[in-house]
């Protein structure tokens, strides 16, 4: 039988790195094939080569047994290859429908397309409003647009780059169901993920990459998560021990936080109540777009419209203060977007220190102390094992995972009293993710109060002391991690919580 897709000795070198070194890959019709590897292993480059957006330096591509040269994504789509990118290629100022129409013939009827988008989205359980402008969408919603865009084309090969991070556990099951159905209809699926459990549950075959080379091909159902991760990074990630802890004093408290949405497609925050204690991690679960962005902005000070007393930091009303003033009072924040928000891409790592370290060491009489920021940057790079040429490297030149390590490191080094972290390990490889989580736990043990917003339930269950769920702008009552189950949290993600019952349950256990 012919393979759907075969790659032979694909090689692609960039000026500084060989991203793909003689890669072989076989994907059968109807096969769900996973590509596993750390960030920088060359997975993305390989996918871009298959999708025609990058040209290989050498090697052959066979499509249904015939050698092809895929010059651009349009040709790839013509062959029947669709791709959902990890980094979205969407235009902010266009609507969902218009964005999807860009990849289609010019005479597409937008109304009909809009209807098809709604239907396809509905079929796969992906809530999506085709009329919305992309700039109003959260990261998770953007990814939904990409998935629906790919599915609309009825592809023969679907490439998915970490698609499940935005879905509830129930929706992941639903997506897997869809993918299995697609596969049974003969569509091949290339599935890139760092979630080993998912790969083991879903995929028929797995190609492991490390440092631009294929290091193994296996049947993931016959491997354990530990053995897979060993193949990928060469060692096992450190496990984090769960231990019951006594909460310290209240560091951050939210009292009846209401916040009107700032744009038509935002989420209004309604009656948010939460106490965050020293020495605990509270995890915020929920499907993205349910008010997490708004809550984070209200907490960080990027959106200073809240009632002053609605947000109390260590007994002080901070609802109206900007981010710099809150930071002076001991708040730290790691935002969801690394480039352009957590760091300025065109500035050096050293200069990016000044975004959050604004004190007497870094600024003297209004002048930047370059020696000091250089030193801080260098110490973050060495302590957090950031792969970077040095403090002078621009933030934009780092890979996503390394930049995330740097930003988390930068905030951790400030010794904040309260640290708010959004998607700590989004798109970060297993090794770096484990390291980041360990740092957060170490910070908790040192007495910091942490609020972690994540779309990855596994992660929240791993590090949190208590969990809350956000849905439709409201926050569920907190529940101890030891009492929470994936099913319960998944149910809460749809907004179905019994506020009275659980509060009393909480009171019993408190």
């Amino acid at each position: 039988m012919d393979t759907r897709l075969t790659l032979r000795r694909i090689t692609k070198a960039y000026p500084s790195v060989v991203a793909n070194d003689s890669i072989d890959l076989d994907v059968l019709p109807g096969e769900i094939h996973s590509i596993l590897g750390e960030n920088g292993a060359g997975k993305s480059t390989l996918m871009k080569i298959i999708y025609g957006s990058v040209k290989p330096d050498a090697g052959q591509v066979f499509w249904n047994g015939r050698e092809v040269s895929i010059a651009n994504p349009a040709e790839a789509r013509k062959l029947g290859i669709a791709m959902v990118f990890q980094h979205f290629s969407l235009f902010d100022t266009l609507t969902v429908t218009e964005n999807i129409a860009l990849g289609l013939p010019k005479d597409t009827d937008l109304h009909a397309l809009s209807r098809r988008i709604r239907e396809t989205a509905h079929e796969y359980g992906l809530a999506l409003e085709p009329e919305r402008h992309v700039h109003t969408l959260s990261v998770g919603e953007c990814q939904r647009v990409e998935i629906v865009r790919a599915l609309l084309a009825k592809p023969q090969l679907l490439i998915l780059d970490e698609p499940t991070s935005v879905l509830t556990p129930q929706a992941v099951e639903k997506l897997f169901h869809t993918l299995r159905k697609l596969a049974s209809e003969g569509c091949s699926i290339l599935y890139i993920s760092h979630k080993l459990d998912e790969i083991r549950a879903l995929c028929h075959r797995c190609t492991v990459m490390r440092g631009g080379k294929v290091t193994g091909i296996c049947d993931p159902t016959e491997e354990s998560a530990a053995s897979l991760s060993r193949m990928m990074i060469g060692s096992e990630p450190p496990a984090i021990k769960a231990a019951e802890r006594l909460p310290g004093e209240t560091m951050l408290s939210l009292r009846d936080l209401w916040l009107e949405k700032s744009h038509p497609f935002g989420t209004t925050l309604e009656e948010i109540n939460l106490d965050l204690h020293a020495g605990e991690i509270v995890g915020v679960a929920g499907v993205s777009g349910n008010g997490q962005q708004e809550l984070l902005a209200a907490l960080s000070g990027e959106d200073p419209r809240a009632q002053p007393e609605a947000i109390m930091l260590n007994g002080e009303a901070i609802g109206r203060m900007n981010a710099a003033r809150r930071r002076k009072r001991g708040l730290g924040f790691v935002p969801e977007e690394r480039l352009g928000r957590g760091a300025v891409p065109d500035l050096s790592l050293a200069q990016n220190i000044l975004l959050s370290h604004q004190n007497k060491t870094t600024i003297r009489q209004g002048m930047i102390s370059f020696g000091a920021i250089q030193e801080i940057a260098a110490s973050i790079i060495s302590r957090f094992k950031v792969k970077a040429p040095g403090p002078q490297a621009t933030a934009g030149s780092l890979s996503g995972g390394n930049l995330q390590k740097y930003i988390v490191g930068r905030e951790v080094m400030r010794d904040p009293k309260v640290l708010i972290v959004a998607q700590p390990t989004w798109g970060v490889d297993v090794g770096a993710a484990a390291q980041i989580r360990a740092e957060l736990v170490a910070l908790r043990d040192a007495g910091c109060a942490l609020l972690v917003v994540s779309e990855e339930l596994d992660e929240l269950f791993e590090i949190s002391d208590r969990l809350v769920v956000m849905a439709k702008g409201k926050l569920s009552p907190p529940i101890k991690r030891s009492h929470a189950t994936v099913d319960l949290i998944g149910q809460w993600m749809s907004g179905l919580w019994d506020s009275k019952g659980t509060t009393s349950q909480e009171a019993v256990h408190a």
Partner: protein, 353 residues
């Protein structure tokens, strides 16, 4: 067919060399232009690039033009780095000339003056430029009005205001109805820094502005905040840097520098208020700012080139009988060449197979 392909890593060296290539390309275009007009290109280029600087007198005249160009370009570099697209520096210059000139005329009774008085007049010009820039800043801040349009339209308002004043209240009663003010007396004029030339103190002020601008942008935390706001607004919000502060700081700084440039023209080479105090320095400075890579020291070199174009343009009219559009043509070619060269920093040309 040719196509543009993004370079994996843009060269920093090329980013700095691009303006040099742009100038060379402008020279090449100049040669083509002279040939097309039936002039000897060698003489043509000599008039533009050698004649203006063949002696001290020539150098000093170039310096006279560098002064306003450099002052404004430093201000614009600060604005553009903060992503505040103030293109109305010409208007701020004109209003600076008006307020400074008016204060000078008010106190000037044919005698007196001196350092204190000149300082007062300069401050008045600075305040005028800042006030004009403040209108744009306010409308942008309060109503989110587009600063490009507002500042540009205010240029024409400023020019009409100047015209109104020199035709009316500020007209010299003994000036045979010419639309111009009295000449300021010597005590009110900026002192010359080289004897026997017109090179005045404004040149020194421009060089100081360039040095201070460099200090502000590359060494101060205030300058850092401003640039983060320009490069990544979300990061500025994350850090807690105020975008309003950046808008006001950059607009007022640029307005102040443009205002000084305007009043320095009145107190320097012109000596009175006339309907036209500037041959478009405020607009030319936009090109100067970009050719100088929005760098307060880089603009020193680009303002020198631009000053050459001004003088070369005048000379080629008298020597070669070229039309007076020649300066504008050269400015335009320079800007286009720069934009073309800048594209090649980030992209490379490839033959599509």
């Amino acid at each position: 067919m040719l196509k543009l392909e993004k370079r994996p890593s843009p060269s920093a060296l090329m980013a700095w060399l691009s303006p040099v290539f742009a100038v060379l390309l402008t020279v090449v275009c100049g040669v083509i232009l002279f040939v097309a007009l039936g002039k000897n290109p060698v003489t043509g280029l000599a008039v533009f690039f050698l004649e203006p600087i063949k002696d001290l007198q020539g150098w000093s005249e170039v310096g006279v033009k560098v002064a306003p160009l450099l002052l404004i370009a430093v201000g614009l570099a600060i604005c553009f780095r903060a992503n505040v697209f103030n293109i109305g520096a010409e208007g701020q210059l004109v209003v600076g000339a008006i307020t400074g000139g008016a204060v000078g005329l008010y106190f000037d009774h044919g005698e007196g003056g001196g350092a204190l008085m000149i300082t007062l007049v300069l401050l008045a010009g600075m305040a005028g430029g800042m006030a004009w820039a403040a209108i744009t800043a306010f409308l942008r801040d309060r109503f989110n009005a587009n600063e490009i349009l507002v500042s540009l339209m205010l240029v024409y308002v400023a020019q009409l205001l100047l015209s109104l004043l020199v035709h009316g209240p500020l007209r010299d009663p003994e000036g045979f109805n010419f639309p111009q003010s009295r000449m300021l007396s010597d005590g009110f004029l900026l002192p010359n820094i080289v004897n026997g030339t017109r090179l005045h103190l404004g040149f020194v002020m421009a060089m100081v502005a360039s040095a201070l601008g460099w200090l502000f942008l590359s060494r101060s935390f205030a300058g850092y905040r401003l640039q983060v706001g320009g490069m990544a607004p979300a990061a500025a919000r994350y850090a807690g840097f105020s975008s309003r502060k950046a808008l006001w700081t950059s607009m007022l700084t640029c307005g102040a520098l443009a205002g000084v440039a305007g009043v320095a023209e009145v107190l320097g080479p012109i000596g009175q208020l006339t309907p036209s105090v500037s041959p478009g320095y405020g607009f030319a400075a936009i090109i100067v700012a970009y050719v100088g890579r929005l760098h307060p020291v880089g603009v020193v070199f680009s303002s020198f080139i631009m000053a050459l174009f001004y003088i070369g343009g005048e000379l080629s009219q008298s020597r070669l009988g070229m039309p007076n559009a020649i300066t504008g043509v050269f400015q335009g070619i320079l800007l286009f060449s720069l934009l073309a060269c800048d594209v090649l920093i980030h992209y490379q040309l490839k033959l599509r197979k």
